[in-house]
Amino acid sequence: MRFWIGAAVVAAALVAMAALVSYEYFFFAGYTVLMFVVLATAWNILGGYAGYVNFGTPAFFGLGAYSAAVLYKATAAPLIVQIALAALMAGMLGFGAGLLTLRLRGIFFAIATIAVTVIMQTVFINWRYAGGATGLQLLRPPTIAPFDSYIKMLFIVMGVSAIASVAIARYIERSWLGRGLRAIRDSEEAAEASGVPTLRLKLIACTISGALMGVAGAPMPMYLSFIEPASTFNLNYAVGALASPMIGGTAHWLGPVIGAVLLSSLQQIITVTISSEINVLLVGALLVVFIVVAPDGILGLARRIFGKR
């Protein structure tokens, strides 16, 4: 119950921001922060709960974005339909990639996900209809009634997606699925021997995680009014999605949220004020420092300080 009150408060705060703030850049930056909340939460479902590292966030994110863009080009379908298709396509990719590699040890899965990213990027570079290597210009549809600008609408849409994905992650964490995934992370052999259907659980987690990453990508073509392979399948999405839970804490649904909000806010500030190289360096350094010094992330640190178990 407390969770839903919290979610309602966050939702109300986002709506209040949209109603009160008139500074457009705020929503551009806020959209990115919310997008990373979705990506980090999605990553954590497989990476945090089950312990399978996914470097392929850009593949799922990019497939979602391209599904939305191609559907929009072909039929001018509304955003909600684009998001649904993106979730479906990215979920199917998650299922397929999982089926191929989740039987193997974690490192093979990790490398296979990099492979999926590069292959996806190559496919879209070579697909003329989707704009090829040069990309695709897209005209935004007119803004719909309660919103006074398109970017505010995208901000709210991403806010809803963020709350929904956190709710899904929280549900998984507390259900039989989460218990099974944790058993896999602690010892896959022991889980298998105790009758946990490990492959099926991993496949479910990989599919849900992929679908949510697709949802995070779907509004991107409308956000930029443009889509292009090199930036859509950029490894930086993988970095953000992996580093946020590692920094925030992977054991609890709140960890990726804290990590993503901190990290991507910091990134927004540094990219604008210093440079994007320093930004990547900072993320890399923070990631390594947290893995080494605070393996349970900010949540783990907080627990240690306040003495709660």
Binding site: G47, G51, Y52, V53, F55, L100, T101, L104, R105, G106, I107, F108, A110, I111, A112, I114, A115, V116, V118, I119, T122, I125, N126, A133, R185, D186, L235, V239, L242, A243, M246, T250, E277, I278, V280, L281, V283, G284, A285, L287, V288, I291, V292, P295
Partner: protein
């Protein structure tokens, strides 16, 4: 296929040269990941940093790039030992839950730091080295031209591969490294210290990566982000080879080199598909035969 025969022949020849180079580049990873089971996704980044060190030494002292690479091996050997020691103390020793996840993420973070460090130190522009053989080419019959730089890199690759293979099978330490990969508890019972052997092996793996880096900058210009292409190539070669098999690494390198150069000249595929070749190969092996060609 619709490719003229002489063009295909040229592609295969070029692919063999490229493949020898890929095998040499993957040798270090074949030891660190294949034998020692360290998820070293930073291997290509270390190699690219080796290219830049070579570039620096060549520019400063006017050495031949290969000589510069050899001169840098002790430094990279020590660096590799330090990295492994750190990895062991922080991850392997503690063991247990999530070691795998954190180990992979650690090397991923390390790769990022190296990449950005290179950008900050040298900029994003491409860098290359000068040597008498760079820019010349060898003309064979039928007007087939082979760039000398590829030939030199191929020669160095062969020497490196043969040396490493002999080292692993003939010397005491080499056999100890293979033993630690096969059965670590048994080695411990024999009174040997597996951590010291692994540390030594990781040092050797890292030392070969600076040689690979020197070859990389001979073959063509390098840029800091290049390690991303080589993640696919090196891991594809190591997995296709069967983890830790030296003979397999050569065979797998050749398969990758030839496939890439055929895709490159194929009329309907071409250069835009070339980066995906290694990754498609990797996915196919993982799906069909995860133990690789010469798997243990």
């Amino acid at each position: 296929m619709g490719i003229p025969l002489d063009l295909l022949l040229e592609a295969v020849l070029f692919g063999i040269l490229l493949g020898g180079f890929y095998a040499a580049v993957s040798m270090g990873l074949s030891v660190s990941f294949g034998l020692l089971d360290v998820p070293n996704v930073a291997h290509p980044a270390i190699m690219v940093s080796g290219s830049y060190c070579t570039y620096f030494v060549v520019g400063r002292f006017g050495l031949d790039p290969i000589v510069a690479g050899v001169a840098l091996t002790p430094l990279f050997f020590l660096l590799g030992m330090a990295v492994y020691r750190f990895y062991y103390e922080v991850f392997e020793k503690r063991g247990g839950r999530e070691t795998g996840v954190r180990g992979i993420a650690f090397f991923f973070g390390l790769a990022l730091i190296i990449e950005v460090g290179l950008i900050l130190a040298f900029g994003v522009d491409q860098r290359m080295v000068e040597a008498p053989y760079i820019g010349k080419s060898l003309v064979l019959v039928n007007d087939i031209r082979i760039p000398m730089r590829t030939l030199v890199a191929f020669g160095a690759a062969i020497v490196l591969t043969v040396a490493l293979t002999l080292y692993m099978s003939k010397t005491f330490t080499g056999r100890a490294i293979k033993a630690v990969a096969q059965d670590e508890p048994a080695l411990r019972l024999m009174g040997a210290n597996p951590v010291r052997i692994k540390q030594w092996a990781f040092g050797i793996a890292t030392a070969t990566s600076v040689l690979a880096g020197a070859m990389l900058i001979i073959v063509g210009p390098v840029e800091p982000g290049m390690d991303r292409d080589y993640i696919g190539r090196t891991f594809a070669v190591v997995v296709l080879a069967g983890l830790g098999s030296m003979t397999g690494t050569v065979a797998a390198g050749l398969i990758l080199g030839i496939s890439e150069s055929i895709v490159l000249i194929h009329p309907s595929l071409g250069a835009s598909w070339a980066p995906a070749v290694s990754f498609i190969l990797l996915l196919v092996i993982l799906g069909v035969r995860p133990q690789g060609l010469f798997g243990r």
